[in-house]
Symmetry: C2
Subunit: 329 residues, 2 copies
């Protein structure tokens, strides 16, 4: 007997429907036309509003899109009685009252894991920039100096590399450090057996800080991690060690960092986080062993595209009843 089986896609129904998205603080250039069209095919209508005051004209909105740094308070949520969905175009969602949103049955999503490669690659870029004086060399060549036998150079291979926080970015940074031939350790609140099975060794935080030649800080900011790199811990870091922070600066006790940098025996590099004051930045810039970068670690074309894709997909998945990147209960 011959049986012919034809596989077809199962019937497809969106579980929920949305009528109107209000995009708060958007100018329109945040997404390309194809993404706006895709959003409109999902939701029917999108409205761009510059400020919270303009929301009063759109109290019928059932969804709200916001950008990094947005404040979505209880009061704002109460202005939109039909609200079912809040989408953050970014990773951090500290300004959104997620608990209150949750109590009203509103799903809040963010965008996670879009910049893993970008941040990890940037970490090695600024590390090699420091170790090999890449920008100094560019300047020398530009000035016609092509011989530089005294050029400083340190290899990454063979160094003790400590990763603090083993989320997506920390894990990828640890993998790359292993590929460069480092002896890699990590500290994380919870042990990660799969990483350990690949030779990434667990160390207590204080031991990691005391042993590592190169340290990267890859923690999310929360009540437990704020100020986790305190004065005592900063003093444990070895002379000539390199500390790289591509996470919020609030993880580090700032005054203690300045005190340690005054000893001129440790290297510190960061990509600037929004919350830093001009005064703090000026203080850091005065140290020759401190390199401040603008907040560009996560900025790549690939990450930018992935971020927008995830943003729209989050809405699709919410409408399908299978929300992704939901950050509240």
């Amino acid at each position: 007997m011959c049986v012919l089986v034809i596989a077809v896609n199962p019937c497809y129904h969106r579980v929920m429907k949305l009528n109107k998205i209000v995009c708060l603080g958007f100018g329109g250039s945040e997404l390309e036309d194809n993404y706006w069209q895709e959003l409109d095919s999902l939701v029917g209508l999108h409205v761009l509003v510059a400020s919270e005051a303009e929301l009063d004209k759109h109290t019928d909105a059932d969804s709200l899109l916001v950008k990094l740094g947005a404040k979505v308070s209880k009061d704002l949520i109460d202005k939109l009685p039909n609200l079912k969905y809040i989408g953050m175009l970014g990773t951090g969602y500290g300004g959104i009252d997620t608990a209150y949103a949750g109590s009203k049955g509103i799903t809040v999503t963010n965008i996670a894991d879009y910049a893993t490669e970008g941040v990890s690659e940037f970490t090695f870029g600024i590390l090699i920039e420091w170790c090999r004086g890449v920008s100094r060399a560019l300047g020398l060549a530009w000035d016609g100096v092509y011989e530089d036998d005294d050029h400083p150079g340190m290899e990454i291979k063979g160094k003790k590399f400590g990763v603090i926080g083993l989320g997506n970015i920390g894990r990828r940074t640890a993998e790359l450090a292993q590929a460069f031939g480092c002896d890699v350790s990590y500290w994380s609140r919870t042990r990660k057996q799969d990483a350990e099975s690949k030779g990434i060794k667990y160390q207590e935080l204080d031991d990691l800080l005391a042993n590592a030649d190169i340290i990267t800080l890859n923690l999310a900011l929360n009540a437990e991690t704020e100020g986790i790199i305190n004065g005592d811990r900063l003093q444990k870091i070895k002379n000539d060690a390199i500390l790289i922070n591509v996470s919020p600066m609030e993880l580090i006790d700032f005054d203690s960092l300045v005190a340690r940098l005054k000893q001129d025996d440790m290297v510190f590099m960061l990509d600037h986080s929004d919350e830093m004051t001009e005064q703090q930045l000026t203080a850091l810039k005065s140290f020759s062993r401190c390199k401040v970068y603008p907040a560009i670690a996560y900025l790549t074309r690939e990450a930018g595209q992935l971020k927008k894709r995830i943003y729209v997909d989050n809405i699709k998945n919410f409408l399908d009843g299978e929300p992704t990147n939901k950050v509240n209960q």
Copy 2:
């Protein structure tokens, strides 16, 4: 019956003896004191001479140490009738008449494989510098500009990475490219099954040039490879591809390179090789998509120490009758 076996080191005799090393073109700072002491313990006496003219006072020398770029002609060799050994403090030995030395029974050694990590790491340093604008970002931050949403950024992950020449440095560069998540191909005069078994794919040279997003040139210079990247091949390289040369510039037809760079559609980066003229360097510097670095890819503290260790060990091994890094018959 109980038998006690005690293992002892075999008796140790140096097969040859040397009396006097002449170090041509040396100032003394090329090696630290401990290495000079070690050399003297092996050879008895070392003499530093600045120029070939001074050699006439040391015609009894039985060994000659030279630095990168040294010319050791038939005439110079004939001045030293007792000569048994020529040691090059570097990798390139094109200035030494190795064939004539060989015909006189003189062993010539160089130093290979001391800068594998240094050059491979530097390659990724200047690649990420280009892809992420690291030095531009440092400048922005220095000027107090910390926001830069338009900062250019390209990820390495997912790119087609082509390595031309799979010696030590090419192979390590290919391994690192794999770790960064690239699709890695290589071209080499001979197929390398062990590399292919690790997923580094062979491509014909013209295909590799036409397909790759990022290309590194890791060939030694010889009669077969001089000008191997000719005008036809330069034209095969994709628009927006990045070509990195950490090998001698004579591998590339210079005029054809300038012609391709005039199209402003390809990125070229090199660390300067000694043989380039000021005019050539000036020509390259005029292109915004060309970055010239001084010859620093191989300069690291670790490589510097390893180089000196190998230099002295080469002499030890020669004296033991088991010469290492011998470059002539």
